[in-house]
Symmetry: C2
Subunit: 449 residues, 2 copies
């Protein structure tokens, strides 16, 4: 159990708390500043985090008026971050709903080349009619269709990443032969959603392919994760639920023929840090006072796919539809429903509970308290590591790196330096085999055929 | 005429000569090295170039075996270059054939934010069945359809870039109001190829939108350029042809209601430099000796859309089809046809003429000779500047910056330092007006409506 914990820094504007930009500890100009994000990654790298992570969406926020609007696109921003860091992994979100596998495969291969093997792809399926309407559709595809499309998308992308064997480039100056075309393969994919000939126009990258990350926790989401994901982000409110989720996912991976250790399960944690418990409580209260209720209701409505606008704030939630009828994020819907029921929360109280972390676990306290929480969940088999979501940035990440990370190291839970150079190295994963690598001459159609 | 010349550095692997990677002055490892490209951009920035430019395609090369295979994807690579430079413009190619306007608009807006206003988009329509087959099609769309799609694509993208007025972010910490939603606009585009609701999920970028660049010289290509392009790359073999092209394009721009100065016409030039004429000739001969004829024939076939493989090298070209029947790059086809006929070239001789520059003007000689050529074309009204395509990289770019640029400066043709910070500043263009900027309250559908 020593040194095995994994930490990802989820970078989000000037902080994960929805009112972070209103808090005096943040600098509004940071929201649109690439230097800010480069600095955050450097702080996380100083803390030997496995990776940084950028979320993404393809539409404006539900409540435009109260949402900090600056937004970089993940692949471009991560490429700029790559240039300012050397070891830390770089995980970016791209939806399988609204892009082409060939374009996505190229951009992630490129990021993996640029960063020397540090790329990861957070695979999302994107609920939301408003997103669909930016891409020629009337509304979002059905939940099951989205996951079927995601599965095929990943199949195509991984085939493209394999389409060049490592030995394909021969680079023989004397003869002018750069490539052994026998080792470059068409993929000839013809499926329900995509038809792609291949090969990719990029040699195989340092990691073979980016680390595949996933963050959907519905039934379909878990099945997808068990089959494809190498790291899983998840929002969990209680240790019991987290442990159940963890066991379930590992069992599914085993059923899919994979080793349990081949998936890192990383629940989110929002660490609200103070030198004393009182100081941390004060910060938490300051932040929650800055929440704009209308905005929080809009965000919650969007997150769970149920319109709660206009509902009385000081009453319990209205009766909610059954999860089968939700075409949004099913797992987040269930989490919110269960949290409200378990703690008998009014809408206003629920918003307070969610404002800091959008459903992720908020832990308020001293560095020791946060380290205790991390150790407890880790030791209990509820997590392989954590997706760290500081409420304020950069201050919350700095506080974590300067105070919580040393404590985790002292306890022998976390690395003191990087052992390798790629994100796969940090996560303890081998470079994936190439499906074409042991093909005999003439097997599988190569570009020379 | 002082200081008005524009120079773009077209970055291509270890050089534009097709056999560059075989030449001892290049380093094969540079092909896959982001540091190499960052260094090239820094050299060009030292030479106060307006911009660097990356070409792109969405398929493997026609002759995989003899093509240097390393390839970065432009938007990711330019983002990494942005982090290593501060002034130089960053122009990347993305096809309108195989991506979605919403995704493209976001990535270029992001690059423009990341670079502080240095982004440019080279708009290409992508001929080639092999590309189409990576995106679910049986073969390339017809030439005219490609340009109709490009036109609609650019309309959608520019509307998305306008969808946030500059004043939309109000960032009022006290009230929690970040955005004035009256200044954020849906675009509600519903056309032949695309249906896009908008708005973009990005505030307006430093330049308003990236500089729009174009490089198709067919009739449809010129019509498109006259309507939309702010810079045009073109391959021209003779001063006469270049002047005709220049005049034609400026006249078309005027007919479209634009000022002639609103389009910069930049013919390609491949400067093969030597301290003496003899040294330059020697380098040119060395390079041409390294051409692999089969590869050159494959590239030429692909470029003009006519299969010339298996044709005798020492005979004239076979009769070529009429340009109407070409579904590839029509203008490049005409250039090659006319060059072969004018100089009565055999196929082998033609390959020699094209190997250095794929149809662009190759000028072999001393820095003075290159500067003379540039000055002559510029003064004759054949060019607003040049797309500089060094045969070897980095050495050819270094030689140009160290020897030709000072000569151009001495002659008062080229800037000695950057006057502004954005690519638009370098090109002398104003920031575009936002179509929504002067809408009265309630006019145009805003997200708050
Ligand atoms: C930490 C975390 C980050 C996420 N990031 C994104 C994101 O960037 N974009 C997105 O569309 N969804 C994101 N999601 C949502 C999930 O990927 C998933 O789409 C959602 O939970 C719906 O899937 P489900 O119905 O399987 O739960 C994230 C979820 C978690 C837990
Ligand atoms: C300098 C230059 C660079 C070009 N770069 C690209 C490129 O990166 N990708 C591409 O598909 N076409 C590229 N082209 C080709 C043109 O954009 C255009 O697609 C082609 O000439 C066909 O258009 P046409 O039929 O109008 O001539 C380039 C052309 C020139 C002159």
């Amino acid at each position: 159990m020593t040194g095995q914990l994994h930490l990802n820094a989820f970078l989000m504007g000037v902080g994960h708390h929805e009112a972070a930009w209103r808090h005096p500890a943040t600098e509004p100009a940071d929201l649109g500043s690439v230097a800010h994000f480069q600095r955050l990654a450097q702080i996380a790298e100083r803390g030997t985090f496995d990776s940084v992570f950028l979320a993404d969406s393809v539409q404006v926020a539900g409540d435009v008026e109260h949402t900090a609007a600056e937004r970089f696109e993940p692949l471009t921003l991560l490429s700029a971050i790559a240039a300012a860091t050397s070891r830390i992994g770089l995980i970016g979100t791209v939806s399988t709903g609204y892009s082409e596998p060939y374009n996505l495969a190229r951009q992630f291969a490129s990021l993996d080349h640029i960063s020397g093997g540090r790329a990861g792809w957070n695979i999302v399926t994107t609920a939301g009619d408003r997103s669909a309407q930016n891409f020629g559709l009337d509304g979002a595809r059905a939940h099951a269709d989205r996951y079927r499309r995601a599965t095929e998308f990943v199949d195509v992308a991984t085939a493209l990443w394999d389409s060049w064997e490592d030995e394909a480039p021969v680079r023989d100056r004397a003869s002018g032969r750069y490539v052994d075309p026998e080792r470059v393969h068409e993929i000839s994919h013809d499926g329900e959603f995509f038809r792609v000939r291949g090969p990719l126009n990029s040699i195989r990258s340092r990691q073979g392919r980016p680390v595949l990350v996933q963050a959907g926790s519905s039934e379909d989401g878990k099945a997808f994760a068990a089959a494809h994901a190498e790291a899983v982000f998840t929002a969990q409110q209680t240790l019991g639920d987290a442990r159940d989720f963890y066991r379930d996912l590992k069992a599914r991976a085993v059923a899919a023929g994979r080793a349990p250790s081949s998936i890192a399960v990383l629940p989110g944690i929002v660490p609200v840090l103070g030198a004393t418990a009182a100081e941390a409580d004060r910060l938490a209260a300051e932040l929650d006072d800055l929440i704009v209720p209308a905005r929080a209701v809009a965000q919650l409505s969007e997150m769970i796919g149920v319109d709660l606008s206009g509902r009385p704030l000081d009453a319990p939630l209205p009766p909610l539809p059954s999860v089968e009828r939700i075409n949004g994020a099913k797992s987040r819907f269930e989490l919110v429903r269960d949290l409200a029921a378990r703690e008998r929360l009014t809408l206003r109280q629920l918003l307070g509970r969610l404002g800091g972390g959008r459903g992720h676990q908020v832990v308020v306290g001293t560095p020791e308290r946060i380290a205790d929480h991390i150790e407890q969940w880790y030791a209990a088999g509820a997590a392989d590591g954590f997706n760290v979501m500081p409420p304020l940035l950069p201050s919350g990440l700095e506080a974590f790196v300067d105070n919580v990370v040393p404590e985790l190291r002292r306890r022998g839970l976390f690395r003191t330096e990087y052992a390798g150079t790629t994100l796969r190295d940090h996560l303890g994963f081998a470079r994936p085999e190439n499906r074409f690598a042991h093909a005999q001459e003439g097997e599988g159609r190569s570009v020379s055929a």
